[in-house]
């Protein structure tokens, strides 16, 4: 049984902001299929009641005091930007409906 469809791969690509060529899409369906088949071995394991591990070691919660550091030089802040105007980053306008949290 197919674990994943081409449409699903496309949906994931759109979430990840990646565009796929036709060949890439076909190849990825095959690769997903084989990889998901491999990963499915995890389903053999009974994990009922097992607490998930998000971090490999336990540590006390680190915090920092509310003391501001000097802000970056604004020129340096945008120095790596592909496009900037004055001290702001410049991006193409949204021309479609974009998800916003």
């Amino acid at each position: 049984m197919a674990r994943i469809s081409r449409a699903e791969v496309e949906r994931v690509a759109s979430l990840a902001r990646l565009s796929l060529s036709d060949e890439e899409g076909d190849r990825l369906v095959r690769e997903f299929e084989s990889f998901l088949g491999y990963i499915d071995t995890l389903q053999e394991i009974d994990t009922a009641g097992v607490v998930p591990t998000a971090h490999p070691i336990s540590l006390p919660t680190p915090t920092r005091p509310d003391e501001p550091e000097v802000a970056m030089d604004p020129d340096s802040a945008v120095a790596n930007a592909p496009e900037a105007v004055a001290s702001a980053f410049l991006v193409p306008k949204v021309i479609d409906t974009e998800a916003e949290g």
Binding site: I4, E8, V9, R11, V12, A13, L15, A16, R17, L18, S19, L20, E24, L28, E31, F32, S34, F35, Y38, I39, T41, L42, Q43, I45, T47, V50, V51, P52, T53, A54, H55, P56, I57, L59, P60, P62, R64, M72, S76, V78, A79, N80, A81, P82, E83, F89, V91, P92, K93, V94, I95, D96, E98
Partner: protein, 488 residues
């Protein structure tokens, strides 16, 4: 190839006895790096001018009697995923083209404080995703032992540079074996410390809960020196271990008497491992026994799920970590896109290589609605079970030994067409990352004419024991002194 560089300790002695200078040592490294690029491609960038300037400053300090550390004036290479102020960092990716960092990674700052001279950045699999250093926008690095073979990965450039005696040491990063497997393939020492021991501040993230910076060197003792310079608490990393790092060098007693070595029964079976590799590893274990260590069988029942667990977690974290590469604030941006979404999609599709895209897509899928519990959460639960395996095993032993890799260095292109086969080559290494424990690989012999690595794992926070074992092993063997052909 020219005469290779010695160990850090040999270089230190030569500096202290005024047989050479830092400028001379660093100059030699730069010359060998340049000369080897054609055949090895271990580097993606050299900082010749800055390095020589820093070497001069170190020589001046030595004249004044102000040597900062045993490493002052000694050269090192860093992987292309650690930032240094004013220097490019590209993670061997097109997406970071043109990026120059305005800040320095804590580990690199530790080297600078110790007076170490960074000579350049080494090649790697793009964003550290790979086991062969073939997934690099710069082209693959080759194995100094056999130029038709990969050096392993993802820190293949660092491993190759040390193995070819271009530099005496290098930094790498290890998310699932990316230091240990190339160390094994190239016949050098490589160690991944406990998760949180070396700050990740300034290490470009691949999988945040697994990534750890570590070191390559020619000996365990040299490796300890480098770790001492980069380890320790860092308030900029919330996952940094609060305690100061121990003085590793002091633990290198050469004494193994009474040491309990665990051999996981799941790993010492002929299935899935090259017979030549297994034979060499068994002989190394016998050598450790002769030196006073006791061996016992331990069990890691969940180890066979490690790869599936690892790739679920690593890809999920990576998909989120790599979202910031969007063409807005730095790096590559596609030309002439109409609208924001097109800019994002084209920038990212042009900027990332095939392996990175594959992992981002898998990771996005694992986290997406309806699949989170089946993949990501499930993998985190299995991770808990796997940690339990190690806790149980370490209750009865001081260290665990395994082969580092099930095979010797494979040929370029041999696994690139089948990603899953490539992933399976991390079978012995990923567990240490999932459990957060320290692990190193030390040369332990040859199979098929190529180096074999012995992996030594220690309990969390205890880097000293694996280092002590490797050091003791190196006192009774000479595998680590073997040089690839063409290097003397």
């Amino acid at each position: 190839m020219a005469e290779g560089i010695g160990t850090l300790r040999e270089l230190r002695a030569a500096l202290d006895s005024r047989k050479t200078s830092s400028v001379e040592i660093v100059g030699g490294c730069l010359r060998r790096a340049e000369a080897s690029q054609q055949s090895l491609r271990a580097f993606v960038g050299l900082r010749a001018e800055a390095a020589l300037r820093e070497a001069e400053a170190s020589d001046a300090r030595r004249e004044r009697g102000e040597v900062r550390s045993p490493l002052d004036g000694l050269p090192i290479a860093i992987k292309d995923n650690m930032v240094q102020t004013g220097e490019p960092t590209h993670c061997a990716s097109r997406i970071l083209e043109g990026f120059v960092s305005p800040y320095t990674a804590t580990a690199v700052a530790g080297l600078e404080r110790a007076g170490v001279v960074v000579i350049g950045r080494t090649n790697m699999d793009e964003f550290a995703m790979g086991s062969s250093t073939e997934h690099s926008v710069e082209g693959p690095t080759r194995n100094p032992w056999d130029l038709d073979r990969t050096p392993g990965g993802s820190s293949g450039g660092s491993a190759a540079a040390v193995a070819a005696r271009i530099v005496p040491a290098a930094l790498g990063s290890d998310t699932g074996g990316s230091i240990r497997q190339p160390a094994s393939f190239c016949g050098v020492v490589g160690m991944k410390p406990t998760y949180g021991r070396v700050s990740r501040w300034g290490l470009v993230a691949f999988a945040s809960s697994l990534d750890q910076i570590g070191a390559f060197a020619l000996t365990a003792a040299d490796c300890a020196w480098v770790l001492e310079a980069i380890a320790g608490h860092d308030a900029r990393d919330s996952t940094s271990i609060p305690e100061p790092a121990p003085a590793y060098s002091a633990a290198l007693s050469g004494d193994l008497s009474g040491l309990r070595l665990g051999l996981p029964k799941e790993y010492f079976v002929s299935e899935g491992v090259d017979a030549g590799v297994l034979a060499v590893v068994r002989e190394a274990v016998a050598g450790l026994e002769r030196a006073g260590a006791k061996t016992l069988e331990v069990s890691l029942p969940y180890a066979r799920y490690a790869i599936a667990t690892y790739y679920s977690i690593a890809n999920a974290e990576a998909s989120s970590n790599l979202a910031r590469f969007d063409g807005v604030r730095y790096g590559h941006r596609t030309a002439g896109a109409k609208g924001l979404t097109e800019m994002y999609c084209r920038t990212r599709s042009e900027g990332f290589g095939a392996e990175v895209k594959r992992r981002i897509l898998l990771g996005t899928y694992f986290l997406s609605a309806g699949y989170y519990d089946a993949y990501y959460r499930k993998a985190q639960q299995v991770r808990t079970l796997l940690r339990g395996d190690f806790e149980q095993a370490f209750a009865g032993c001081d260290a665990i030994v395994t082969p580092t890799s099930p095979e010797v260095a494979f040929r370029l292109g041999e696994k690139t067409s089948d990603p899953l086969t490539m992933y399976l080559s991390d079978i012995y290494t990923v567990s240490a990352n999932l459990a957060g424990i320290p692990a190193l690989s030390t040369p332990c012999g040859f199979a098929h004419g190529l180096p074999v690595g012995l992996q030594i794992l220690g309990p969390a926070l205890d880097e000293a024991t694996p280092l002590r074992i490797a050091d003791a092993f190196q006192r009774i063997t000479d595998h680590h002194t073997a040089c690839p052909g063409g290097v003397s």
